[in-house]
Each structure stands twice: as structure tokens, then as C-alpha cells.
């Protein structure tokens, strides 16, 4: 016999189980499993310097994953997200070195360009009604060509160099590529940007009108338009958000490496999507979380570095990477099943 309750149609379920069913906490399980797996086997992995190292990998990936997750919740893909980090980094580099501008001017120019590309993506998707997959594949390929063509046009080589000499570089470095010492270990500031991006995205998604529209547009675009959600505006804003994230990552890359290769970022778009999916985003839209995506990026980053820390044969790197990812998502799945199976 169950105890009498306010509503006899609801059974008592432990806090623990209720938490486990949440999507972001689900991906937390994956992260914990991977963390435990590598920590047990490698002391360097669990050392502070190791942590700083894999957090660094997760950070730029995570900034993108969070933005891509928002877009995916809104029901769209952006295949140009990866190459756009290259476009923005190259723009920062070319404007700062070839056009001899202050680095902040270059960063601002890069932002304007990124937002323009994001707007174009969103506008094309909403106007033509074609799948975003194919539209952004078009922009992906075009940007890839532009990155190479323009870099060679401006520099004669496939690399933009000398960003460190641009005026204003030191202040930019401070903001985008410095290190912060914590517990005697230096951490990259990009990690802070990552946390900030996750927090802002989560807040927007769960606490604002815009967030409500994102879920609705991704869940059922026709229905949401019927009740008055400005679906086109929401979609365009989401594409611009992804572009802005690419700009942030591109600027961090440019300032940190001080030289940028023309093919930077190509192929990363898939990894962003993967991180978002590990974090619980549905590919069909309408469901997911920003924190989940950030955790997905963490899973990916830890796995990538963990395999190296364990000194496993590099030829098999991708094999282990794949196996670890499956381990993360399957363990998440198992635990949630257990949680949902509930009081039987």
C-alpha cells in the first residue's frame, strides 16, 4: 500500500531517480564513466596538469557544441559551423596583418562577417524551406573554398602569420588566450568562456521567451507558427548565434596560435553535432539542453586526451575513440533505463 498523497495518481519516486532521468544529468553519467575509466588508469590524467589539458580541449569544442545544441533544439543543422571558425580566425588574421589594423578592429570585422554569414544561412533556410543540412552544406563548401582562395590571394601561402605583431595584441591575448592560475595550475581562459557560454545558453533556453520559441520551433514548426511564434526570426537568430560562437572560437584560435592555417576547422562540424547528441539533443529537434552539450564536449575531450594518456597504440586511436563514445552513451542509457524502470 502506498501512503496517502495529495494526488493518488502520482507515486513517490526518489530524488536520485528523478535526477537521473533529466537529459543533462544523463550525459553527466557518461562523463563520470569516462572520467573514472581514465582516472583509474592514468595518474597524469587525474593530475591537475592533466585536468587543465583536457579541459582545454573540451573548452573550444564546448563553446561550439552549446551553440550547435541550441540550433539543433531549434530543429536545424549547421554544417558550416566548423569551417566558420576558420573563416573568422582567418579574417582576424588577414585584417590584422595584411590590412594592418588594430587586432580589436580585426576581431570586430570578423564578428560582422560571421553574423552576416549566419544571417545568410538562416535567411536561405527560412525563405527557401530547403533543409538546413543542404543549405549549410553549400555554405560550408563555399567557405572552405573562400578560406583557401582568399588566404592564398592575400598571403601567397596557405597560412596567415604574424598576428602577434598587430597593435592591441596583448589586450586581446589577455581576454582570449591568457591563463588563469588555480590551485597552482594554469588553466586556459577559454575554459571560462566555455562555462560562460553554457550558463548563458542554459538561461536563455530555460528562462526566456526566446528559449520557449526555440523548443517550439524545433518541436513542431507549423504548430508553433500557428500559435504565433515568430519561427523565421527564431531560426535566423539561432544561425546567427552559431556564427557568433564560431567567431568567438575563431578569435581565440587566431590570438592563441598567432598564425592561422587556411583549412582550420574543416570537418569539426560533425564533432559539434556529436557532442550535442551525446548531451541528449534530438536530431529531429525540440529536445535537448545546453549543459548536456557542454558535458558532451567534455566526454569527447576527455576521451580524445585520455587515449593519449594511456599510451595506447596510435594506429588504433580512432577505434578506441569510437569504443569510448559508445561506452559513454550506452552507460548513460543503461542508467536511465534503470532509473525509469522505477518501482517495480
Amino acid at each position: 500500500m502506498r501512503p496517502a498523497r495529495a494526488d493518488e495518481r502520482v507515486a513517490a519516486v526518489g530524488l536520485w531517480r528523478r535526477l537521473l532521468v533529466k537529459p543533462e544529468l544523463g550525459s553527466l553519467i557518461g562523463a563520470v564513466v569516462i572520467l573514472a575509466f581514465f582516472s583509474v588508469q592514468s595518474s597524469v590524467f587525474r593530475s591537475l596538469s592533466g585536468v587543465a589539458n583536457w579541459l582545454d580541449v573540451a573548452s573550444t569544442l564546448g563553446i561550439m557544441a552549446v551553440a550547435v545544441a541550441l540550433l539543433m533544439i531549434g530543429g536545424h543543422f549547421d554544417l558550416s559551423a566548423g569551417v566558420m571558425t576558420g573563416t573568422t580566425a582567418l579574417t582576424v588574421g588577414i585584417v590584422a596583418t595584411e590590412l594592418d589594423q588594430n587586432i580589436w578592429v580585426a576581431i570586430a570585422a570578423s564578428l560582422v562577417l560571421a553574423l552576416a554569414i549566419g544571417f545568410a544561412n538562416g535567411w536561405l533556410v527560412t525563405r527557401t524551406g530547403l533543409p538546413s543540412f543542404i543549405i549549410t552544406l553549400g555554405t560550408f563548401l563555399m567557405l572552405q573554398g573562400l578560406n583557401l582562395g582568399l588566404t592564398k590571394l592575400f598571403t601567397g601561402t596557405v597560412i596567415v602569420r604574424g598576428i602577434a605583431e598587430a597593435p592591441g595584441f596583448h589586450s586581446a591575448q589577455l581576454v582570449l588566450a591568457s591563463r588563469v592560475t588555480l590551485f597552482g595550475q594554469e588553466f586556459r581562459i577559454a575554459i571560462l568562456w566555455w562555462l560562460l557560454a553554457t550558463a548563458v545558453a542554459s538561461w536563455v533556453l530555460l528562462r526566456t521567451r526566446f528559449g520557449n520559441w526555440v523548443f517550439a520551433t524545433g518541436g513542431d514548426e507549423v504548430a508553433s507558427r500557428n500559435v504565433g511564434v515568430p519561427a523565421a526570426r527564431t531560426t535566423i537568430t539561432l544561425f546567427m548565434t552559431t556564427a557568433a560562437a564560431a567567431w568567438l572560437v575563431g578569435s581565440i584560435t587566431a590570438v592563441r596560435l598567432t598564425s592561422v592555417q587556411a583549412n582550420t576547422g574543416t570537418g569539426q562540424e560533425l564533432i559539434y553535432i556529436v557532442a550535442a547528441v551525446i548531451g541528449g539533443c534530438l536530431l529531429t529537434g525540440g529536445f535537448g539542453s545546453a549543459i548536456g552539450a557542454a558535458l558532451g564536449a567534455l566526454v569527447f575531450g576527455m576521451t580524445q586526451q585520455g587515449i593519449v594518456y594511456l599510451n595506447w597504440d596510435a594506429d588504433w586511436f580512432y577505434f578506441f575513440l569510437g569504443a569510448m563514445l559508445l561506452l559513454a552513451v550506452l552507460s548513460n542509457r543503461l542508467v536511465r533505463r534503470y532509473a525509469e524502470a522505477a518501482r517495480r
Partner: protein, 310 residues
């Protein structure tokens, strides 16, 4: 192999008449390599070929694809366009045999570059310019051994790329012991830096790092300092950053295949062949390297590398 060269030479003489008749002033050559788009090494090859085209007043069309099937389709496209000569890099000679022989039998002279020297004459090419990646790798390995490195990390930036594997395999031979491989992604250099850092943290006995791309060299140097490792950094290929790094000592040396010549010389050879039926060295491979750039000679070529021709 000498008879092969003779055979192919006479075989293509008949065809060359037609291409010569097509007009002397208007020669056009196709360069088809297995480099991926934006690859720093192949960019220099392309630049060499295009410079030769400009210098000699001939047309040069550069195409590349890392997939041998695609490469053979590109060769077929060049044959269809009836170009006056084809330059091919042969990382995977078996896969290209069919299409190279088809070009030769269509009367189009072929020069092979970079790898595939041992099969070049067999396929009927009129010459080969290049430096086998394995030999280049050996050069790097020997130099690392000289500098006292024992446990060397070879950073592969494109999984399964045959040229990169050959460089690492060559380095093992030159070093006299197996190098340790590490996979990174050339398109995400920040992650590459972290990955190299991880490797150096987890295996402090590594005392040499060989990168196969100039851009990876810079992040490898940064990774070594992050990890507090004393490992010697060496790399294939040059760019302005690597030159600066060699000058300030953070990179010890760079293997320079002088791949500019692998682009430039075949165009010269094809032009001479088209106009004069000349071949070079009786079809024997023309070697372009390896040269080693280190603190001793870096200053001389610094400006050239920054301009992207070294």
C-alpha cells in the same frame, strides 16, 4: 628499367606529333597530385608548377585529391581535354597504373613527381622528379639520431595518409629504432597542441618530436614548453613560423624536400619534350632533396620560406 624508358619514349613519339601540331605557343599541362586542398607541402608544389607555367608561357592546371580513385578520374579528365602533358604524383602507383598508362597510350607525355620513382618508367613516364618520402624520413631520422634522440614521437596529422606513414617509417629506419606514432587533426591545431602535450606529459622519456607539417611544428614547440619537456622538435617542410622557430632554437631543424622543384622542373621537362623531344637524365629520377634546414643555413632561405616558395 633502361629498356622500359626507351620503349615508352618511342611509344609516345608518335602521339607527341599531334600535340606539337596543336600549336607551339599554346601548350597546356595538367598537374595532378594526391595532396589535400590547403596542404602546406603541396601548396609549394603548386606554386612551383604555376611559376614555371608563367616563366615558360605555358598553361598549367593544378588539381589534387588524396583518394587514388578520384586522382585517376582527374587524370582521365585531363586526357579527355587532350592536354600536352601530365604531371602526376604517385603515392599509390598500383591504383594509378591504369590511368597513367591510358594517358601514355593516348600520346600524352607523363612526368611523375614526389613518390613512385621505381614504377615511373614502367608506366611509360618520360621522367620522374622527386624525393621518396621514405628517404626524406630516413634523413630526418638520421639527423635526430645524430642529435642524440632515442625515443622519438612522430606526429601524424592525417590518419592513414600514405605519404605521412612513409615519412614516419623512413624516420624509424634512419633512427635505428621505431618511432612512436601520435594522431592529431591538422584542422584543429589547438586540440593538436593539447594532444601533443598529453603525450609528452604521460611519457617523459620522449626526447624527440618529429612533425610532418610546418603548422604542426609550431604547436609542437608550444606543447613541449607546456609539458616542460626538453624534447628536440624537428619537422618536415618550412613556413615563416618554422624559420623563426629555427632561428630562436625552439625547432632544431626542418627537412626540406625542395618540393618547389617538384612543381617547376616537370613543366620544364614537358615543355622541352613537347618542343624538342628532350628527356632528362635518360628517364632516371631527378632527386630534389632531402635538404636539412637548421640554424646553420636558416638565415639564407628565411625570406624565401616566408614567401612560400621553400
Amino acid at each position: 628499367s633502361t629498356d622500359d624508358t626507351g620503349g615508352s619514349g618511342s611509344g609516345s613519339t608518335s602521339g607527341s606529333g599531334s600535340s606539337a601540331a596543336a600549336g607551339d605557343g599554346d601548350l597546356s599541362f595538367a598537374v595532378i597530385t594526391h595532396g589535400s586542398a590547403g596542404d602546406a607541402f603541396w601548396d609549394v608544389v603548386q606554386k612551383g608548377a604555376e611559376a614555371a607555367g608563367e616563366d615558360l608561357g605555358v598553361g598549367v592546371d593544378y588539381q589534387s585529391d588524396g583518394d587514388p580513385q578520384r586522382q585517376s578520374q582527374l587524370i582521365q579528365a585531363a586526357v579527355n581535354q587532350d592536354v600536352d602533358g601530365i604531371v602526376v604524383s604517385m603515392a599509390n602507383p598500383d591504383a594509378l597504373q591504369d590511368s597513367v598508362e591510358a594517358a601514355v597510350s593516348a600520346g600524352i607525355p607523363v612526368v611523375t613527381i614526389n613518390s613512385g620513382a621505381d614504377r615511373s618508367a614502367e608506366f611509360g613516364a618520360i621522367g620522374h622528379v622527386g624525393q621518396d618520402e621514405t628517404i626524406a624520413g630516413q634523413g630526418a631520422g638520421q639527423r635526430l639520431a645524430q642529435d642524440g634522440a632515442k625515443n622519438v614521437l612522430c606526429v601524424v596529422h592525417e590518419a592513414g595518409n600514405i605519404g605521412l606513414e612513409q615519412r614516419c617509417a623512413g624516420a624509424s629506419q634512419g633512427l635505428g629504432s621505431d618511432v612512436k606514432l601520435l594522431q592529431v587533426d591538422i584542422n584543429d591545431l589547438q586540440a593538436a597542441q593539447s594532444t601533443i602535450t598529453s603525450q609528452l606529459q604521460s611519457d617523459p622519456s620522449i626526447d624527440g618530436v618529429l612533425t610532418l607539417n610546418s603548422a604542426v611544428a609550431s604547436v609542437a614547440a608550444a606543447a613541449a614548453s607546456d609539458a616542460g619537456s626538453q624534447a628536440e622538435i624537428a619537422t618536415f617542410d618550412l613556413n615563416g613560423d618554422v624559420i623563426a622557430a629555427i632561428q630562436d632554437g625552439s625547432v632544431a631543424f626542418a627537412v626540406d624536400q625542395q618540393q618547389y622543384e617538384q612543381g617547376y622542373l616537370p613543366i620544364v621537362m614537358l615543355k622541352l619534350y613537347a618542343q624538342n623531344l628532350n628527356t632528362v637524365g635518360g628517364g632516371q629520377p631527378v632527386l630534389t632533396g632531402p635538404g636539412i634546414v637548421d640554424s646553420a643555413n636558416v638565415d639564407a632561405i628565411a625570406d624565401l620560406a616566408s614567401a612560400g616558395t621553400r
